[in-house]
Assembly symmetry: C2
């Protein structure tokens, strides 16, 4: 093992039965996984034993697919609220980071800052917040909103929201000494009724990939989670984001960029392929098309011939960067809606690699050493099987290559991630 070699960071992206859209139909699927705390405790302990940097949870406050019949056919729609889930996992683990997604669109900064700082104290300095803006009409309808706010407005609110939250975490906001916040979207007077975080402040994670999303990340994020299918996309994103840091007085090491990866691993390549195909064949067409529609923030792709090409799409107020990515790939590879649906349904737009431990490690190493990633957010296709396989097969291979830690560097998330402690 090379001493002092730069090492990659790894997240374990948790998601009920698994990230593959047909995970719930897998013969080994635990269908009630989403509300089984023992299931999550097992996953957390597996990831911690393998020295992962963090557990990562997404979130959405609503039924995720607009069509309840489709929603009920996927593994995505049922599960714990993630912050309370991570609070429970905090006292069942000792080192691994605990990152939850929460939206700036339907929360208030004072409450959210307080909840994450509380989780940080509960866990001894292992909490992180993945800031997202809500691009979903579905969520908006549960919070009294009459429609989705325009993309730019959402990010303006997010910027102010993040400024308040970090101000509170850093102990810089106190109305009694004239430094309260009185802004466009929010006003907040008090400091939090909690001491500073054991790690200085919770880790700030972001996933927005649009231009304004990247700027917000460059300004405030410690970790960026992203989706990139190809090496070139990943490298371009990596270079672009690192290039934006200087404008905010930050250095390239101040942000860790961790693209999602959906690995399917087995001792032999044919075994891995077989595992993958078994899952792909379980995807019902209507679920695949509905998921692709939702992913593109358009109402209904099922009106178009399933074996024809993706139609011209109207500009969307939803995920602009996502949409561009999918359209580009569909044109490039000349994919039909069915093919695209199946492709995206499998890994939800993320990078899929199927192979042996050495093949997976080669691919990860190439992006890590090639200036395209500081680490990866691992999205196992089904739980616990595929996380177990990654931990048992890929992690030791990365460790043998000196690419991943064999012991935690400390006790807090910032120590593991190699991030500065805020002053």
């Amino acid at each position: 093992m090379t001493a002092h070699r730069r090492q990659m960071k790894l997240g374990a992206f948790l998601w009920a039965t698994g990230h593959h859209i047909a995970a719930w139909r897998h013969p080994q699927a635990h269908v009630k996984a989403g509300v089984d705390i023992d299931h999550y405790i097992r996953l957390a302990r597996t990831a911690e034993a393998a020295k992962f940097d963090m557990l990562f949870c997404e979130d959405a406050a609503g039924v995720r697919e607009a069509d309840v019949n489709i929603a009920s056919q996927t593994s995505r729609s049922i599960g714990f609220e993630p912050i309370s889930l991570l609070a429970a996992l905090a006292v069942q683990t000792s080192h691994i980071g605990l990152v939850s997604t929460a939206s700036t669109s339907h929360n208030e900064p004072y409450g959210l800052a307080r909840t994450f700082l509380s989780l940080d104290h509960l866990s001894g300095g292992r909490a992180g917040w993945n800031l997202v803006t809500s691009a979903s009409h579905i969520e908006a309808a549960n919070f009294g909103a009459t429609g989705l706010r325009p993309h730019a407005d959402r990010y303006e609110r997010a910027r102010e929201f993040a400024e308040i939250v970090t101000g509170l975490w850093h102990g810089k906001l106190d109305g009694a000494s004239g430094s309260g916040h009185d802004g466009q979207c929010f006003s907040v007077r008090d400091p939090l009724d909690l001491p500073r975080s054991p790690q200085g402040a919770p880790v700030m994670v972001q996933a927005g990939a649009s231009d304004v999303g990247r700027d917000l990340a460059a300004r405030t994020a410690d970790v960026v989670f992203t989706a990139a299918q190809t090496f070139e996309e990943a490298k371009a994103f990596y270079g672009d984001l690192k290039g934006r840091l200087a404008a905010y007085g930050r250095g390239p090491d101040d942000i860790k960029i961790m693209p999602g990866v959906a690995p399917v691993v087995a001792e032999t390549e044919s075994e891995a392929r077989e595992k993958y195909e078994e899952l792909q064949e379980l995807i019902p067409d209507d679920v695949g098309v509905a998921l692709l529609s939702s992913y593109l923030s358009i109402s209904d792709l099922s009106r178009y011939p399933i074996d024809g090409p993706l139609p011209e799409l109207p500009a969307s107020e939803g995920m602009q960067s996502r949409q561009a990515l999918v359209i580009e790939q569909s044109r490039r590879d000349n994919l039909s809606i069915r093919q695209l649906a199946r492709h995206f349904a499998g890994a939800r737009g993320h990078w899929r690699i199927v192979g042996t431990p050495a093949q997976i490690a080669d691919e990860l190493e190439a992006r890590f050493e090639g200036g395209a990633a500081d680490g990866f957010n691992v999205m196992p296709s089904y739980f616990p099987g595929e996380l177990d396989a990654f931990a048992a097969l890929v992690v030791p291979e990365l460790q043998r290559r000196g690419l991943f830690r064999t012991e935690y560097e400390g006790r807090t998330s910032r120590e593991h991630l190699g991030l500065k402690r805020p002053a």
Copy 2:
């Protein structure tokens, strides 16, 4: 032990270093208790071993005393956000209920319903929500509000909020089938993305004692937490609230009324008195007066002579019922501001009993059998000492008398509390 005797319900009201305002100055005080999860795990296990019905947490989203200097002198101002705390305690306990306070003033019903139902699943059916409206200018200032809403408006919002939350919990709200909620304060379309609760629905707790607060409790609460100094007050409240149930098609057993009690117990009466006086003498006058001011929702009592009587008070938009209670007692017992401050500072308006296990049990039994309580929310003066003492001395005495369980009735809060499972 009498078989099938009606038994009292007991809550353990958690609060960092303890409920006594000077608890943090106690020689055995754990000053960082508010952010020490091991401290709370110890308390939870003590309460569960003693077969308490529930852990109970209050909440406020702000610095609790307007004057930060005063706040920093009390044990009240620092601690975990309670829902994440209870989520952590859920996986360190197996039977005890987990009730957190949350305000209808600065939250959204969809998010709150989801978080409590999630906690309910995490804990296997042990969650409860203590609904409060925020009567604090301090909190309002952290949520962009320009002032406190009038009492009646707060309760109108609370009523609609509770209707949505219980609708979501009971699976009765679903916009897709035409039963969404489109009301005065909120609109919500989706059902929750969680299955029904293991206990039918989380337990609904309330503490409002005003007329409109009592009506809301009669309409929706399973448990009512209240403050009553004297037997007569307690009995009047009990009779009044039980009398309101019929109007909502409910029977007297459908609500458990649990007044707060602040016991100080020791093997001998003189030892108990000594423990109590030791704490009382630790209350600084300025803290006592500031706390009394805050308790009465008036800005500053320190302008008045400390050894003089309570001045005439302006009508308050804050805690109307509280204010009346304090004024009545001050006139009745002819108390100076200093005396009143010390008296209230000690138990914060709750019933204080000091004595031997038999004396404490006698007092509790008298209210329980006399139609003034279905149980008690126990507020130990300091932690862990006074909770340990109650569990070791008073609980066995109550059990000997057949007044308290020796084993849990089941696994869920509703089973312990003897509440119906919602259809």
